[in-house]
């Protein structure tokens, strides 16, 4: 397995997490792993899914504007 087991899911972007999740789903669907690894992969898939969900639920966003001199300030 070359999946980034070591990567901390909490630091992953949505794209990184969902890409890995999609990869794991394909692996599980192929069903070529032994039972123990399959369970491990499934466990990681659920963690990745939670990470993605958390990002989706997080409605915090910054709306900013470039002002004179290239500075960035909150947009009113």
């Amino acid at each position: 397995m070359t999946m980034s087991d070591e990567r901390n899911v909490d630091e992953m972007s949505f794209e990184e997490a969902i890409k890995e999740l999609e990869g794991l789903v394909k692996v599980l669907e192929k069903g070529e792993l032994d039972l123990e690894t399959s369970l491990k992969v499934y466990g990681r898939a659920t963690v990745l899914k939670e990470r993605c969900k958390k990002i989706l639920d997080d409605s915090e966003r910054k709306v900013q504007s470039i002002i004179d001199g290239g500075e960035i300030a909150d947009f009113q």
Binding site: I18, L21, L28, S38, L39, L56
Partner: protein
Amino acid sequence: MALILERLTMNFGDGGERPNIITVTKLNTIAKDLLATSKDLNEVWVSGEVSNLTKHSSGHYYFTLKDDISEVRCTLFKFARSKLSIELNENMKVLVFGSMSVYVAKGNYQFNVLDVKAQGLGDLYLAYEALKKKLEGEGLFDTARKRPLPRFPKRIGVVTSPTGAAIRDILNVTARRFPADVLIAPALVQGEGAAESIVQGIASLNQARVDVIIVGRGGGSLEDLWAFNEEMVARAIYASKVPVVSAVGHEVDFTISDLVADLRAPTPSAAAELVLPDRVEERRNLVHLLARAQKGLSATLGRMRQRLMRTDRTLSPKTFLVDIQQHEVRLDELSGLLDIFVKKKVDLDAHRLDALRASLVGLDPMRVLDRGYCVIQSVGGGILNSVTKVNQGDEVRIVMRDGALKAQVTRKE
């Protein structure tokens, strides 16, 4: 009146020169030929405004071209009209190219139009067409060059007016969709300096390393939207390292920016939707993905179970038991067989016994008695089969077929 008649009579009089009498047709034809020879009336550009435009079902257009003082009937025949890049409209200020001619049948003259260029707006159209041709030739519109947008941008850049409807629309839509930061590069979107400010905005957002850029404004007239048809804007979009979505609020025509951009959105709202995925859909997708993972896992589990049952059979106590049971069954079978053998042997013996018994029956002394023989026993029960064992006066027992007698030996003979 009388005078005219007199003159006519005079002119037709004998010896007078014969007057040059021509037909109406000839008259108009001469006029037509005359006009055709005038350099000033042929293949000239005339400026004026279109009015009384009639689009005939034959495909020919008829209209009056006028200025403040004068007007002239114009014809635009189908063959010429089909080559035009613009469509004529009432009150349009135009430059028409063509020649003056006489319509012989009606005796009126008209301008036969071969080409039309719009003035004012028309100049913009011409500039648009020219720039489009030029940039197209340079490959700025090549579809192969179009870059895919990031699937989940973390920060989107917007080049537009900070006070326009476009930015409000974009902020509204993005708030509902996949969460991403928005960085606005405020720009003039029409009038003097608009193109420069849009170019600057694209550059600034590239520097700020946003994931995708929306360049646009709300709808407006062709003149309002003109900045988006400027070459410098087109080249800035082309040079952007970050994918650009054009969002100029008009659905009919394409601006040059639309053509160069990686993706064209019909409105700023639509651009926001194209740039950011739908949050609800993504949530649904997550659920779907996990369901697929579950399905895959349970299929694997099912397979594993089957394989385990196959490969671990020799080791598991359960299957061991089954083996034992099988042996027991075999044993039962064997012992059953044994029973059968034993039984058969017993039966056989019994049979032989019967036979023996039958043959023994023949030897039964009692049966001899039936035939009239007797058995003589001593008082002690011993069989007396010799006279030597008996003395005179001894008491003996005579066993007969149906009973026994006691007797006394009276004499030995």
